[in-house]
């Protein structure tokens, strides 16, 4: 199918095991390394959430196995409050950084961005390798925080994934979980920032400079637009977190006062009167929140944009239809990326920052709902008049749209400063962001896994297991996270290790149990996915080069793609990325590499004119 008039010499893969699989410069190997890292990290994060649910629903229960595994954190099998809070912190940190930021971008983006634009590799293969291994070191350090937390009763720091100062800045004096674990937590995130920066530079350069002949920007698959915008967000936001993290570490270790104000009196000790608590003066706790959320809000979009890209890509493929409103989709991705930098203050409406800035942040926050809605309309538009093929990948992509709506829509509540007075820091926030940035992003990744697995490994994943996985997970995540919204209305605060102390929370007990049961079932179901993944590597049905009858460049090369992606033959692109159901074409899909002049070309915009 590919044009063959551009044969250049082939790049052979390295021969040694270490250069081929460990310190590889091949973006495909690096992509798989990122995915494996995320698969390991998500297992840790998921088990932590299971332990949290056990404690919330059945507080004070003796879980003998916990007593054996964590004699400090769960003496006699009953969890300590600080043990619970360290689970909260580590669950959030591991999920946000090492799962939601690695797999969608570092994993699938690394593997498929160069192939989809017709490049032989990333622009800077060495930086790419460094970016993975730096991230890997970050992961080792965060795991170290579990084992060397500085307090035997915790498995990490207890500041939450947001690490608000001064709790995170004061050290041991502020209680258990503020010792070595917090240092390791900060160092891990700082390392992660560096790794992500290298990755982001690579993505941007590769996409701008290495597109093959004919691959104009508006002929790129929407996945590439999403990965590109994500990389720009990472490039601009991670340095701020890195800076903030360094300042926080200095406050803890060097006695500086960036985030610690004067006159603090902690655990019976006045600042400056005891060697355990040196003199601090002049710092601002709110400064940390600004730095953190200036990164933290774009981070939400870093997590979800690649899922949006994959969903658009997969919906079009299995709807057998061009993406509805391709150009609007591109603009919406840009608008989300741009506005994503101006809304961080909505995390801080009641933090004590100026109430006037809350007015601006509130209006900007609701504005970001507009491009999000535009994307949803276009996804539904893509399904209109389709001939849908219900593969596991397609089910998860449709699930993504459903969850993105369900989770995103409550942003209209949380984005209003006045409504934040009752709902801030309650379970409605948990329901909101877990659905939209957590589960929707994960659905995007599941869809991507079922979709691209045959290309990456030459075999299909088992469809029946994939569908069982989808049905239970789809129902399960709704059952977990929708009830959290009403818990928030009742007033249930986040980050409580028990709800036993308050009368106003008693009526929620049945709902808390319901959520935990749903969580246990949903978590158990994920092992079907793990099993399917491993089983299919060896026993899956063999897949050809283009098993889904798709149109973009990754399907024009061999399965699995050779070391230099196109075996030395650089492809030429003749049309937009989603030319399905073209009237008069011999097949219902026309690949980007097909030169046939009879087929109407171009992307949505051009086609729409005539």
């Amino acid at each position: 199918m590919s044009e063959t008039h551009d044969a250049v010499h082939r790049h052979e893969p390295p021969k040694s095991f270490i250069r081929k699989y460990i310190f590889s410069l091949d973006h495909k190997v690096i992509g798989i390394q990122y995915i494996l890292l995320a698969l390991a990290a998500v297992l840790v994060g998921m088990i932590m959430s299971l332990l949290m649910r056990l404690n919330l629903s059945w507080p004070g229960t003796n879980w003998p196995i916990l007593g054996t595994l964590f004699p400090g954190g769960a003496p006699n099998g009953v969890m300590n409050p600080e043990f619970y809070l360290s689970l909260v912190t580590m669950h959030g940190t591991i999920m946000v950084f090492f799962v939601l930021t690695t797999a969608p971008q570092g994993g699938f983006g690394n593997y498929f961005l160069p192939i989809q634009i017709g490049a032989e590799d990333m622009a800077f293969p060495f930086l790419n390798m460094m970016s993975f291994w730096i991230t890997f070191v970050g992961f080792i350090v965060i795991l170290a925080a579990i084992f060397f937390s500085g307090a035997p009763s915790t498995v990490g720091p207890i500041g939450g994934w947001t690490g608000y100062a001064p709790l995170s800045a004061l050290g041991q004096i502020a209680g258990p979980g503020q010792g070595m674990g917090m240092n390791l937590w900060i160092i891990s995130i700082a390392i992660f920032c560096v790794g992500s920066l290298l990755g982001a530079l690579n993505f941007i350069t590769t996409l701008l400079n290495m597109r093959t002949r004919g691959m104009s920007l508006m002929r790129m698959p929407l996945t590439c637009w999403a990965w590109f915008t994500t990389a720009v967000l990472a490039l601009l936001s991670f340095p701020v977190l890195l800076g903030g993290g360094i300042l926080l570490l200095l406050d803890r270790l060097a006695g500086t006062s960036f985030f610690i104000p004067g006159g603090l009196y902690v655990s019976g000790v006045l600042s400056g009167t005891n060697p355990n608590f040196p003199l601090h003066t002049g710092g601002s706790p709110i400064l940390w929140q600004h730095l953190f959320w200036f990164f933290g809000h774009p981070e939400v979009y870093i997590a979800i944009l690649p899922g949006m890209g994959a969903t658009s890509h997969i919906l079009a493929t299995f709807a057998r239809k061009p993406v509805f409103g391709y150009r609007a989709m591109v603009f919406a991705i840009f608008a989300i990326g741009l506005l994503g930098f101006f809304v961080w203050g909505h995390h801080m409406f009641i933090s004590g920052m100026s109430p006037y800035s809350a007015v601006a942040f509130s209006i900007l926050t609701l504005s970001i709902g507009v491009p999000s809605a535009v994307k949803t309309f276009n996804w539904i538009g893509t399904l209109w008049g389709a001939r849908i093929r219900f593969t596991s990948a397609m089910l998860f992509a449709i699930g993504f749209v459903s969850l993105f709506v369900a989770g995103g829509i409550s942003g209209l509540i949380l984005g209003q400063s006045s409504l934040d007075l009752p709902v801030h820091d309650t379970y409605i926030v948990l329901g909101h962001f877990h659905l939209v940035m957590g589960v929707a992003s994960i659905f995007g990744m599941f869809a991507a896994t079922y979709f691209w697995f045959p290309k990456m490994l030459g075999r299909f994943m088992n469809e029946r297991l994939g569908q069982i996985h989808f049905w239970i997970t789809f129902l399960g995540v709704y059952a977990i996270f929708i009830p959290m919204h009403v818990m928030g209305l009742v007033g249930m605060p986040r980050r409580y290790s028990q709800f036993t102390e308050y009368e106003f929370l008693k009526s929620l007990h049945p709902l808390v149990i319901f959520v935990s049961v749903a969580a246990i079932i949903t978590i158990a179901t994920q092992f079907i996915f793990y099993f399917n993944l491993i089983w299919s590597i060896f026993k899956g049905k063999k897949a050809g080069d283009n098993p889904w009858e798709a149109t973009t460049l990754e399907w024009s090369t061999a399965t699995p793609p050779p070391h230099d992606n196109f075996a030395g033959i650089i492809p030429t692109v003749y049309r937009g990325p989603y030319e399905f159901a073209v009237p008069g074409a011999p097949n219902d899909f026309v690949m980007q590499t097909e030169a046939d002049a009879e087929v109407p070309g171009g992307n949505g915009h051009e086609a729409h004119k005539h």
Binding site: P81, G175, G263, S267, A386, L421, D425, V486, E503, V582
Partner: protein, 280 residues
């Protein structure tokens, strides 16, 4: 399979909507002057949210039902419609931004304006897992406080300077007592880490940030006893950093706050026993 998926999407949509509409779990009955306006804004918002959510999910389900791959022939070849893009962009922009602008009125009333004159003032000093409320006493002047004078072991939790004449009639207690139907101004401070003042029926929450004094105001409209919780993670025992807010009839409140420290404490305890929490 398309039909199963469509029905499933509709079922979870219906279940989600029922969970909200049934109001089995909902905001507690409100007890503040700003709450009716806030609740109205919430109702308008949740209506928009509910309609948009239902429309999108039902629409998604309908596409999945209708366009499953059973019909022969190819899908409709279209790249979209610029007119539709403009229409839905403009409509959502107008609705969303209108919501945001409408929501500002409650916010402005509470946060952009100072407390009305004659508001009852209380200094709130939070510390890890404990609330301290500092009352000015009969002279309506707060005694001087200084972090250097804080001594938890001597029960001087807020660092009150006993040598200051205006401190003589001050009282510090572990619960908050405010008058009904009179504006209250809280001056929020923290001794150690960030805490958050949270009384659900009051529809009111504000962080207490070390190094800052944050002034906020509200008016409570229902006499009674209410639970006061910390809403910002403050350490190990965050989950039981609990106190009570007593909303008292004006005369009962005036009598209480005129008492010197020792009797103030005893009377506060009596009042905490006298009033019952609302039935949840």
């Amino acid at each position: 399979m398309g039909r199963v998926l469509a029905v499933l999407i509709w079922i979870v949509t219906l279940a989600s909507v029922i969970l909200f509409v049934s109001k089995k779990w909902w905001f507690p009955p409100a007890i503040s002057a700003h709450a009716p306006a806030l609740d109205r804004q919430f109702l308008i918002t949740i209506l928009v949210v509910g309609v948009a959510f239902t429309a999108a999910e039902v629409g998604l389900g309908w596409m999945v039902w209708k366009y499953r791959d059973t019909v022969s022939g190819r899908a409709t070849y279209t790249h979209g419609s610029n007119r539709l893009e403009v229409v839905w962009t403009v409509v959502t922009a107008v609705v969303f931004i209108a919501l945001a602008v409408m929501g500002q009125s409650v916010w402005a009333q509470l946060r952009l304006h100072d407390a009305p004159a004659g508001a009852f003032q209380v200094e709130v000093v939070a510390q890890q897992f404990q609330w301290n409320f500092h009352y000015a006493g009969k002279d309506n002047v707060f005694g001087r406080t200084d972090p250097a004078l804080i001594d938890d072991s001597a029960l001087n939790f807020v660092g009150l300077d006993e040598s200051d004449p205006s401190a003589k009639d001050d009282a510090v207690t572990a619960a908050l007592a405010i008058p009904v139907n009179r504006p209250v101004e809280l001056r929020l401070r923290s001794k150690d880490v960030i805490h958050s003042f949270w009384v659900p029926p009051l529809r009111f929450k504000q962080d207490l940030v070390p190094g800052m004094e944050i002034k906020v105001h509200f008016t409570a409209t229902q006499v009674g006893k209410y639970e006061l919780a910390c809403a910002e993670l403050c350490g190990q025992l965050h989950f039981k950093m609990k106190s009570y807010m007593l909303v008292l009839p004006e005369d009962e409140h005036r009598a209480l706050t005129a008492l010197p420290q020792a009797q103030f404490q005893a009377r506060m305890q009596e009042l905490l026993n006298k009033y019952q929490l609302p039935q949840y």
